[in-house]
Amino acid sequence: MRKRSSWALPYFIFLVLFVVLPLLLIVVYSFQDNSGHFTLGNITKFFSDGDSLSTFALSIEVAIENTILCILIGYPAAWILANKQLNRSAVTVVLFILPMWINALMRTLATAELFNMAGIPLGKGTLLFGMCYDYLPFMIYPIYNVLNKMDKSYAEAAQDLGATPGEVFRKITLPLSMPGVMSGVMMVFMPTVSTFAISEFLTNNKIKLFGTIIQENINNSMWNYGAALSLIMLVIIGITTFLQGGDTEEAASGGTI
């Protein structure tokens, strides 16, 4: 048995080299100026730069709205899909996952073009719609997984004891499905903050999200400021993960695709 635990060693080295070291480099570059000297300038630059700050605030706002929208639309869909009386075929579930397999940029461009054709001006509304469209499957899938694996006898017991369907949902199903909702939030919130390209396409470059300014800085060789902006995101990820308890495994180990 002792021998086989050493099989984790190659992957450990790999993770240190390609995950831990790169993240440390983000920290290192954040606190350096162009010539490699220590500075707090990049961090203070962010907090004194009105443009970056308002982009940041807008990104968080869009991400919160998008997450709420995905829950409101996705939860009923997941609930219906997991309900054996309402949905008997596995094919419907596949149909919900299928769009994810088509290149996201291509789908986004088509969405933007659909808005153009309908005469709807590209802006915050279309951005939110497009984001929700892109991330909805990531919300539906984990909730569906949890609801599907849920022990039905709790709900039945509550029913036998006289709970109305509404009470069963509020007091049994909803609390038990919270891990799925939390994984969904993790898979929607941070990715929304950090998207680039998608937000540009959906608003015709009118609205920038946080991901776009990171990308612009890195591409214009302003690595240190780009790293500092990434560090700010990392801190937020750390906080949200900590609050959530860091349990994303439930959702990702879904099994069937």
Binding site: S5, I26, N87, L105, L109, W223, S230, M233, I237
Partner: protein
């Protein structure tokens, strides 16, 4: 019993959401049958774009075709390596105890929690720091980085279902560790390895941000980066529409076949 009204309402809801989800894809498919350059511009029914795609007679055809080739090749190499690395790692982690196990699980979670752009930027800085020139190899390494955790996650549950004595029994009966791995462990872990592989392959195919930051400046394009540059420069290559339509149909058929076979097996 469920009321009929609820059932009808549920059905309408599901199909409504699906209709919205599929609208852009159907839109692309419809406009792949016309010659117009831009999406949403109908100039009569035509197979011209399909012909162009298959005969390769289009502007910048080598660019698009090599992008498709790169996408598939990178996804294949990355997911094969990720599956091997992830499976061996899963066996190792499963046999670890206490703090070491927690550390490995924690490290394995990081790439899954990190948004693409963080993975991309951090690896970009790594390659800059180590003075490694970026290109094919760095993109493949980056894809292995974000794929492997999902393989580990999919193989783990199969390990806990496995009787640990089988492997020991194989060793006692004279198998070398390599033989025991190949003939005992791998067959038992195969379902987890396959779903990990498929997940890796899909994520690699669909990746944009990580590729964007690690491909360097040698002009390496995958489908995603090709579409990105194309859309920002001159407007989309019209042949992308038939290409996307064909890809979509292939995926649709494959997934439906897999699922119908699976549900048949479950019913037996």
């Amino acid at each position: 019993m469920m009321k009929n009204r609820t059932r009808i309402f549920a059905r309408i809801y599901i199909w409504l959401v699906l209709a919205v989800l599929y609208a852009p894809i159907v839109f692309i498919a419809i406009f792949s049958f016309t010659e117009a350059k831009s999406l949403g511009n109908w100039t009569g029914f035509s197979f011209q774009l399909y012909k162009n795609l298959f005969t390769g007679s289009m502007q910048n055809s080598s660019g698009l075709l090599s992008a498709v080739e790169n996408t598939l090749l990178i996804a294949l190499i990355a997911s094969v390596i990720a599956t091997m690395l992830g499976t061996i790692a899963a066996i190792g982690i499963y046999n670890l105890k206490g703090r070491k196990k927690n550390v490995m699980t924690f490290l394995n979670n990081i790439p899954m929690i990190n948004p693409d752009i963080i993975t991309g930027v951090s690896l970009f800085l790594l390659f800059v720091f180590l003075h490694i020139s970026q290109g094919y190899t760095t993109v493949v390494l980056a894809h292995i980085t974000f794929c492997t955790p999902y393989v580990v996650l999919n193989v783990m549950p199969k390990l806990s279902q496995l009787n640990p004595n089988i492997y020991e029994a194989a060793l006692d009966l004279g198998a070398t560790p390599a033989q025991a791995l190949r003939k005992v462990l791998v067959p038992a872990l195969r379902p987890g390895m396959i779903s990990g592989f498929i997940l890796s392959f899909t994520m690699s195919l669909d990746d944009f941000a990580v590729t964007f930051f690690t491909r360097g400046t040698i002009g390496l394009d995958t489908l995603s980066t090709y579409i990105y540059t194309d859309a920002r420069k001159a407007g989309l290559t019209p042949e992308l529409k038939p290409l996307m339509t064909i890809l979509f149909l292939i995926i649709l058929v494959v997934l439906l076949v897999i699922n119908i076979r699976q549900s048949k097996n479950n019913n037996k």
